[in-house]
Subunit: 377 residues, 2 copies
Amino acid sequence: MKFELVKTDPASAARVGAVTTAHGVFETPAFMPIGTYGAVKALSPSDLRAAGAHIILSNTYHLSLRPGTDVVRAVGGLHRFMGWPGPILTDSGGYQVFSLAPMRTVTDDGVEFRSHVDGALCFLGPEEAVRIQRELGSDIAMVLDECVPYPVERDIACQAVDRSIQWAARCRAVHASGEGPEALFGIVQGSVHEDLRERCARELVRIGFDGYAIGGLSVGEPAERMLEVAGFTAALLPEERPRYLMGVGTPADIVRAVARGIDMFDCVMPTRNGRNGQAFTSRGVLRLRGARYREDAGPIEAGCPCEACAGFSRAYLRHCVNVNEMLGLRLISLHNVTFYCGLMARMREAIRRGRFGEFAQAFLQRYGADGDETHEE
Amino acid sequence: MKFELVKTDPASAARVGAVTTAHGVFETPAFMPIGTYGAVKALSPSDLRAAGAHIILSNTYHLSLRPGTDVVRAVGGLHRFMGWPGPILTDSGGYQVFSLAPMRTVTDDGVEFRSHVDGALCFLGPEEAVRIQRELGSDIAMVLDECVPYPVERDIACQAVDRSIQWAARCRAVHASGEGPEALFGIVQGSVHEDLRERCARELVRIGFDGYAIGGLSVGEPAERMLEVAGFTAALLPEERPRYLMGVGTPADIVRAVARGIDMFDCVMPTRNGRNGQAFTSRGVLRLRGARYREDAGPIEAGCPCEACAGFSRAYLRHCVNVNEMLGLRLISLHNVTFYCGLMARMREAIRRGRFGEFAQAFLQRYGADGDETHEE
């Protein structure tokens, strides 16, 4: 994996870059739609290409439970399995173990837990996490880290940072031995404590990774605090490596995080909210279930190139959501991913032209103070 | 609407025709995918075009309850509402009233019933049925008929035939006054009684319709009996009008019905069974949930031009069905509609070349005696 810094904004930390992987190039700032079970919900690979996605994220925890990494391997790896020939980033599975799996026991070795699918006893340590991601055929793998909730006692956050650093070093060792996927990213933890973030970042940079993620945010803290910590942490990371803010976020949060030097994002919002009938537009979120759209013959957003806006009215999409027709859920998801990927493309263009500040201000003003109200849902 | 008889098979009643409507031409034998709520489940209009569908069916009963005919009209009619520019046949709503609506009361005037959605009291008579279909903007409307279950007492079947004939005449009168959609089809009832079928067919032909449907079959009677009655009834209908066998059926039933002179079909099987993980192939039905497909890297059917077969393995589709990923349900539905429409195209080609008998024999042999086992599910 190669990261090339193409352009830096003179007035902020925003930047444009290009990441080259064995499965193709993607430009940053980049948004990664999430394919939890080897499919981005409701969308096909050709839908994703049409939406402007160049890299997707897939969840190791889910895939290793169903269908199992052996199946993915037998069919030729994750790219072939899911029909997506472009770059794939996989998470380590840690976040899901800490948020979904019942009866987990964490030791320095790793995490023992029960599958939330069939109750089977499983173990995930740093070595296993890297090996599973290699077996899946991931382009960019993530280290195993210990995730803490928010709010959390400082001691617990501190302990999680210690363990995350140790695990990161062990992941790196497996990767360095040639057993890992193409690239491995470290993950900075430390909750909202700047000294913990600083120590974690310093240690990870000492170990050395192909890129650095900022984890443990967007877990319930206020959006302003999230942006502060993300910006503080991003500034501690090497300029010549991509920076990935995990699990963020709303369009407004993403624009603000790009201004703070973040290059990569993932979030379930475009697809999850799409399935709930919420459509993102440059003027904020449309809640298509609303009676006001009952006879609205217009598209979600005029000028949007997606299949939903080209061929279907708000009235039709509202109807589909109300009667739970898959087509409507797919079309709104497609629109939302198109909106997110289009936003990234517009930011890259603005940075290239040295006008990111203007762009961000205009976007946030138009999007509106209430544009992100879905945040709390 | 114009029906042109293009070619008749010398050795059977099979025939090729072309139906011209204001929204385009479709050739017969034709299969109509069902868009109950203004969407063929899981599929977009461009999916349907790719699958080779040239006409679809939509359900008046469902659409009139949700979103309501006023909404469809306000947005410019059903074609624009659902984004399907080709021909649309609508049913009268009668079948759904008789099968879904609670607390119905049938009189000579029509049917009073409660909406299965919100319990509202509704009335559907022959005049209303034609007017609603006109409001939707249907290309081919169906008369209101009285549907009886199977088995049923002869007296009840006889009474339903009398009432269906009266209602058909009233529908025709509304249509003739210029208030109706482009074309109106009569529906022959009479359960499995040949004398009732004969009387009903004779009376409907006397009234005169643009096409004739055979209703009240595929409601639980044995497949052999269904084919006998369909063939007997088809032979009573004018050669120069299309014949539509409602609600049929499996691929094998369709091939056998074409041999008996049927031109048009509709059935939920390709989409409903697709959502259950059942894929139609020329060698019978694949039940993709089965463990045998766990690591099967092959497509549903080699040589099939659909997106599912071009890009995805049985193992992947099985996985999607098991974790309920919409993409898998869509892909299998797309394959199934492609299979059904492809079968119709192959039959048309065989009839044109004067080789329908050979084709049908080869198809049924290869499809297998158990190929249709989904019939009973």
